[in-house]
C-alpha cells in the first residue's frame, strides 16, 4: 500500500488549489465575497454563490390539500426550505367559555362606542377593506381574546444540522410561532364571522321572553333590536401547525406562505345548534362546507445584508456616522461595493450575515389597489436606512405578484 501511494504522490505534487466546495467551507466569507465582487477584468456579473442575483428569490412552489385528515393543508417549498402546514378546526361551545357572558356584554358596549366615532373613521378609511374594517373591529377581539387562532411552528428533527431529537422547541421555533400569531392578528386575515356558529331560535314568543329573563343582559340585547334573537352557540378554533421539514435559510417566508395557502384551502363543515340534543352538530356533506374568506393576501419577503468587511463591527475603525455613511455610499456608487442586500437568503448566507430585514406587504382589491405595508422589521446592523428600505419595499411588491401566482394556482 505504502509503496503504491508514494510514487503517485511524487508524480502529482500536492496541489495548492482547493476545490470550490472545500474553499466554501474553509473561508465562507471570502468565498461569497469573491462571487459578489468578481475582478473587474473578468467581466463577470456579480452573483451570489448559489447562482442567484442579489435581489432574486428562490423558486417557490406550493401544493394544497395534500393532508387529507386536516381541514386545510399546504406544502410550500422555497428552494430547499420546505414548510408543511395543516389547519385543524375544532368546535368551542360558548358554554365552555368561562367568561363568555361577561365578555359578550363588554363587546356590545365597545361596539356602541365605535359607532359613535364612526364619522371620524370614515375619513381615513382608504387603507383597509372599508366596510368590514369597521363592522368587524369588535369581533376581531373574539379572535384575540378567545385565542381562536392557535399557530405553532416546529423545526423538525434533522431539518438542518444541529436539530437533534428530543430537544425542547428552540428559541427560533418559539419566536417564529410568535411572529406568525402576531401577523395573523395584525393583518386580521381570518374573519371572525367565519368562525362563528349562530343559532336563530324560532319565534316562539313566550319561551323567548323567558330566556331573556334568565339572562342578565336583557338591556344590552334590547339595544340591538335586529339581532336580539340570534345567538352565538360555538366558535371554530383553528389549530395551525407548521412544520419546517427542511431548513435552508429564511424559514419565516416559507412558513408564512404555507399558513396563507393552508388557510385559503381550509373548509369548515356546516355546523348548527341542535336544540333537541342541546349540542352543536356538523354536516358531513362536502357540498355544504364553506371556505374561509380571507382578508387580503399578505406576503413576506426577507432580506439580509452581506458586508464586504466582516470585521467592520469590531476592528479598530470608526463607525462612520449616518451623514458620512451617505456620502461614502454616494462616492462608492461607481467604485467598490461595500455591502450587498441579498433577498431570500439561504442557510449559508444567513450564517455570514447579521443584519436582517423582513417586509410583509399586501395589495388590496386583488392586486389593483394600493400597496400596504403590514409589517416592516430591520435589525442587527446599520446598513439599511430609509433609502434602502424603500427599494426593499419595491422588491417585496414584485415578490407579492410572484407568490400570488404560485398560491393562486393551487
Amino acid at each position: 500500500m505504502a509503496s503504491a501511494a508514494a510514487p503517485a504522490a511524487q508524480s502529482a505534487p500536492p496541489s495548492l488549489s482547493l476545490p470550490p466546495s472545500q474553499f466554501a467551507r474553509l473561508q465562507p466569507h471570502a468565498y461569497l465575497l469573491a462571487h459578489l465582487s468578481p475582478p473587474a477584468t473578468s467581466n463577470q456579473p456579480s452573483i451570489r454563490a448559489n447562482g442567484r442575483a442579489p435581489s432574486q428569490f428562490r423558486i417557490t412552489s406550493a401544493n394544497t390539500g395534500s393532508l387529507t385528515h386536516t381541514n386545510g393543508s399546504a406544502v410550500v417549498r422555497v428552494g430547499d426550505t420546505t414548510a408543511v402546514c395543516g389547519v385543524r378546526a375544532e368546535l368551542l361551545p360558548t358554554e365552555d367559555i368561562a367568561s363568555w357572558s361577561v365578555s359578550r356584554s363588554a363587546a356590545a358596549t365597545t361596539n356602541k362606542r365605535r359607532k359613535l366615532t364612526d364619522p371620524t373613521q370614515k375619513l381615513t378609511e382608504e387603507i383597509g377593506d372599508e366596510s368590514d374594517l369597521d363592522a368587524d373591529a369588535d369581533d376581531q377581539s373574539h379572535i384575540e381574546d378567545l385565542n381562536l387562532l392557535v399557530p405553532n411552528l416546529s423545526l423538525s428533527t434533522g431539518c438542518a444540522p444541529g436539530f437533534i431529537p428530543g430537544a425542547p422547541p428552540s428559541s427560533l421555533a418559539q419566536s417564529l410561532s410568535h411572529q406568525i400569531l402576531a401577523l395573523l392578528h395584525t393583518t386580521r386575515l381570518v374573519r371572525a364571522e367565519d368562525l362563528r356558529v349562530w343559532y336563530q331560535p324560532p319565534n316562539l314568543g313566550a319561551e323567548d321572553l323567558e330566556r331573556h329573563n334568565e339572562s342578565e343582559q336583557m338591556d344590552v340585547d334590547a339595544e340591538e333590536a335586529g339581532e336580539k334573537d340570534k345567538e352565538i352557540k360555538a366558535f371554530w378554533v383553528l389549530y395551525i401547525d407548521v412544520m419546517i421539514v427542511s431548513l435552508a435559510g429564511n424559514p419565516f417566508d416559507a412558513a408564512w406562505a404555507s399558513v396563507l395557502a393552508a388557510l385559503r384551502d381550509t373548509k369548515l363543515p356546516r355546523a348548527w345548534w341542535d336544540i333537541d340534543n342541546e349540542m352543536v352538530v356538523c354536516s358531513d356533506a362536502v357540498s355544504e362546507s364553506h371556505k374561509l374568506t380571507l382578508r387580503g393576501m399578505p406576503v413576506a419577503s426577507s432580506f439580509c445584508v452581506f458586508e464586504a468587511d466582516a470585521a467592520a463591527g469590531w476592528r479598530a475603525v470608526i463607525i462612520p456616522d449616518a451623514e458620512e455613511e451617505r456620502q461614502i455610499e454616494e462616492s462608492n456608487r461607481k467604485g467598490v461595493q461595500r455591502r450587498w442586500i441579498l433577498a431570500d437568503p439561504d442557510g449559508y448566507e444567513e450564517g455570514l450575515t447579521q443584519e436582517r430585514a423582513c417586509i410583509v406587504v399586501d395589495k388590496k382589491q386583488g392586486g389593483k389597489g394600493k400597496l400596504v405595508i403590514v409589517k416592516m422589521e430591520k435589525n442587527g446592523g446599520w446598513a439599511l436606512d430609509s433609502e434602502e428600505l424603500r427599494k426593499l419595499v419595491d422588491i417585496s411588491a414584485k415578490r407579492w405578484e410572484d407568490v400570488r401566482q404560485v398560491i393562486g394556482q393551487c
Binding site: 371620524t120 385565542n147 410568535h178 392578528h185 447579521q354 416592516m376 422589521e377 430609509s386
Partner: protein, 249 residues
C-alpha cells in the same frame, strides 16, 4: 412631555444595573448585566473569538412565553452588533442581560410587545453602561403609533396602542444610524418616512448644525431628546460617585 425616570446601578450584586420608567407607556423595567462571566455548556466552536450576548426577559405577572423569546431575539441581535465582544477578557465569555418588567398588566397571547420594547432597549443600554461593557456606540429608542386619523402619537398608552392602525419602534445610534425598526399594522412607506423623521427628532432633538460640524441638541415640543436623557443619567451618576474627587479638585 414628561420624560422618563432613570437610575443607574440600583443593584449592588450585579455588575451593572439600571431601572427605567416611561410615564407615557407605563413601562417600568429593571435590568441587570453580568459581564464578563463564564457561560456553562458553551460550545467553543461557536465564534471562539467573540463574546456571547444572552438576553432574558421576565414578564411582570405571567411566566415567560413565546412572545418573550421573540423580543429576546430582537434585543440580542441588536446589542450583539454594538458590544465589542473581542475586547480584552471578553472573548469566549458571556454577557448576560436580564430585564424584568415590574408590575404592569399581563400581555395577551400574541401581543406585539412593541410598546415596552423601547423601554427594554433603553434599560439594557443603561445597564451595559453601568457594567462598563465596551460598546462601539450608544443608542436611543422610541415607539410611535399612528391613529385612525393619521396623526402620530408619541409613546402611546396601552389603550391608544390598541386602537392605533400601526405601531412603530425605532432605535437610532448615537451617530444617527437606524439600528432597529419594528413596524406593525397597515401603513405606506410615506407614513413610515414621517415616522422616521419624528422618531429621529425624539431621539436626537432638532438637529441644528453649527459651522464647525458640531450638532447641538435643542429642546422642542418633544422635550429633552432621549439621547440626552441617557447622557444625563450617566453624568449624574458619575458626579455622585466621584463627588469626593470632583469637589476636591
Amino acid at each position: 412631555m414628561v420624560g422618563p425616570t432613570t437610575s443607574l446601578t440600583p443593584l449592588s450584586r450585579a455588575d451593572g444595573s439600571a431601572s427605567y420608567q416611561c410615564p407615557a407607556t407605563g413601562a417600568n423595567i429593571l435590568g441587570s448585566v453580568n459581564a464578563p462571566i463564564e457561560l456553562p455548556g458553551r460550545r467553543d466552536a461557536l465564534k471562539p473569538e467573540d463574546a456571547t450576548v444572552e438576553v432574558f426577559i421576565k414578564p411582570g405577572t405571567a411566566p415567560g412565553g413565546v412572545g418573550e423569546r421573540y423580543v429576546e431575539g430582537i434585543i440580542k441581535s441588536m446589542l450583539g452588533r454594538l458590544v465589542l465582544g473581542r475586547e480584552k477578557s471578553y472573548a469566549r465569555r458571556g454577557i448576560v442581560v436580564t430585564l424584568a418588567i415590574v408590575g404592569g398588566e399581563s400581555k395577551p397571547r400574541g401581543d406585539s410587545y412593541l410598546t415596552v420594547l423601547p423601554a427594554l432597549l433603553q434599560t439594557s443600554l443603561l445597564a451595559l453602561l453601568s457594567a462598563s461593557v465596551p460598546l462601539s456606540m450608544t443608542f436611543s429608542a422610541t415607539v410611535l403609533g399612528v391613529n385612525t386619523l393619521g396623526e402620530i402619537i408619541r409613546e402611546p398608552a396601552p389603550t391608544d396602542a390598541a386602537a392605533a392602525t400601526s405601531l412603530h419602534v425605532l432605535a437610532f445610534s448615537s451617530k444617527g444610524h437606524l439600528l432597529l425598526n419594528e413596524s406593525r399594522g397597515s401603513f405606506d412607506f410615506d407614513t413610515w418616512e414621517r415616522i422616521r423623521q419624528r422618531a429621529l427628532t425624539i431621539c436626537h432633538g432638532t438637529l441644528s448644525g453649527s459651522p464647525d460640524g458640531d450638532v447641538a441638541m435643542v429642546e422642542d415640543v418633544d422635550g429633552q431628546p432621549l439621547e440626552g436623557v441617557v447622557r444625563e443619567t450617566v453624568e449624574d451618576k458619575y458626579h455622585q460617585d466621584y463627588a469626593w474627587k470632583i469637589d476636591a479638585a
